[in-house]
């Protein structure tokens, strides 16, 4: 192949790579080959582009193959219509589910007054002087609190998996969510107080 032919071939390879990128609407910022100029001069690449566009049109004209209605009915019957757990699979024993639900309720009953207590929410309004704490101890305490919160969330997560809406008709979710929101509020207030 002549030197000129060699160069043209290299340009064609680059042009075709650019064509692929244009097909994906993702053209490279810069290239030493100008695609419009190359396409004007090179019939082979022009044909290549037209071929790729035709292939794309053909592919996009292919219809979706609908998932059969009876198959989707089977999916519903094994999932949302069957309750939260598939029969016999990954389903905690009834005793464990009730135990978990009871544990969460107990935690909510003990935790709720604490989370919402005036001592926590309005400690800034207290009349007695607040003891000053050095920054290192405060940071360490904050880390420990975060660790405890993370562990608690993990535990809540496990309980949620075991108990969720079967025993409590979904009300558990809302209770736990409220607990979480309050944790967020308290954290904000506490950090404001620290400042």
């Amino acid at each position: 192949m002549s030197e000129l032919g060699d160069e043209l071939w290299r340009d064609c390879a680059k042009a075709r790579a650019l064509i692929q990128e244009h097909l994906d609407s993702n053209p490279r910022e810069s290239s030493d080959v100008s695609l419009p100029t190359h396409l004007e001069e090179c019939d082979a690449c022009h044909e290549y582009l037209e071929g790729q566009l035709a292939v794309r049109a053909g592919l996009r004209g292919l219809p979706l193959i609908a998932f059969p209605e009876d198959a989707i009915e089977e999916v519903w019957s094994e999932t949302i219509s069957a309750g939260r757990f598939r029969r016999g699979e990954g389903r905690p024993a009834a005793g464990r589910r009730w135990l978990a639900a009871a544990a969460v309720l107990a935690a909510a009953m003990v935790g709720w007054p604490w989370f919402t207590s005036d001592t926590i929410r309005h400690s800034a309004e207290r009349t007695e002087p607040v003891q000053t704490v050095d920054a290192t101890r405060l940071a360490r305490a904050a880390t420990e609190v975060r660790l405890v919160v993370d562990l608690t969330n993990d535990a809540l997560d496990r309980v949620e998996r075991a108990a969720f809406d079967e025993p409590l008709m979904g009300r558990l979710a809302e209770t736990l969510r409220q607990l979480r929101v309050h944790r967020g509020e308290n954290e904000t207030e506490e950090s404001e107080e620290a400042i």
Partner: protein
């Protein structure tokens, strides 16, 4: 570590797809996800397996697995998750069969029959493209369907097919080129 996609707007800092209650898919979320993606997942599986019965099983299993994992997959992540699961199931089944099947119940047959799944809009070009697509190797079929028929981004495809972005782009380029050559060889393209 990824940040949670905060599908429910909590914007929490938990790992992606965390199972804290705010991001757990409930029955309504699941139904919505299934209705949105079932046909596309089924179409993908049908083209990769070249067998609509297998595609039905793969799609059904993927949806059931999503239900089982709804505690760790958020609604926003479900589209990619479903396709990746379907892709893995297809690959497993094809490996087990150890031979690429192309029986009479493939998507091509549906298209030729012009039945319910084929529809009447399948033009001559579509039929030729479908025949050429069905004759491609499994990986070529997968990348082409995800990109051209499902319209997914490189990033989504890379996650679904579990291959690096560069490898994915090269695979897509090669697949398109094989398809174009097949159609040129068949006299469909000039």
């Amino acid at each position: 570590m990824f940040a949670c996609d905060g599908a429910r707007g909590f914007g929490c800092n938990f790992p992606r797809g965390c199972s804290f209650l705010g991001c757990v898919m409930n029955g309504d979320d699941f139904r919505r996800v299934v209705l949105r993606h079932k046909d596309r997942v089924h179409t993908y599986a049908a083209w990769v397996m070249r067998d609509v019965e297998e595609a039905r099983d793969v799609t059904q299993q993927s949806l059931l697995r999503l239900w089982e994992h709804r505690g760790t997959v958020s609604e926003a992540a479900a589209a990619t998750w479903l396709r990746r699961t379907a892709h893995r199931l297809c690959v497993d089944r094809l490996r087990r069969q150890n031979v690429a099947r192309n029986n009479g119940d493939g998507p091509l047959a549906l298209l030729s029959a012009g039945g319910e799944a084929g529809g009447s809009e399948a033009t001559e070009l579509c039929r030729s493209v479908a025949a050429a697509l069905a004759a491609l190797p499994e990986r070529d079929r997968a990348v082409i369907v995800l990109r051209e028929m499902d319209g997914l981004s490189y990033e989504q495809m890379s996650e679904i097919m579990e291959m690096p972005l560069g490898t994915l782009k090269a695979a897509l380029h090669r697949a398109r080129e094989r398809l174009r050559r097949a159609l040129t060889g068949a006299g469909v393209l000039g």
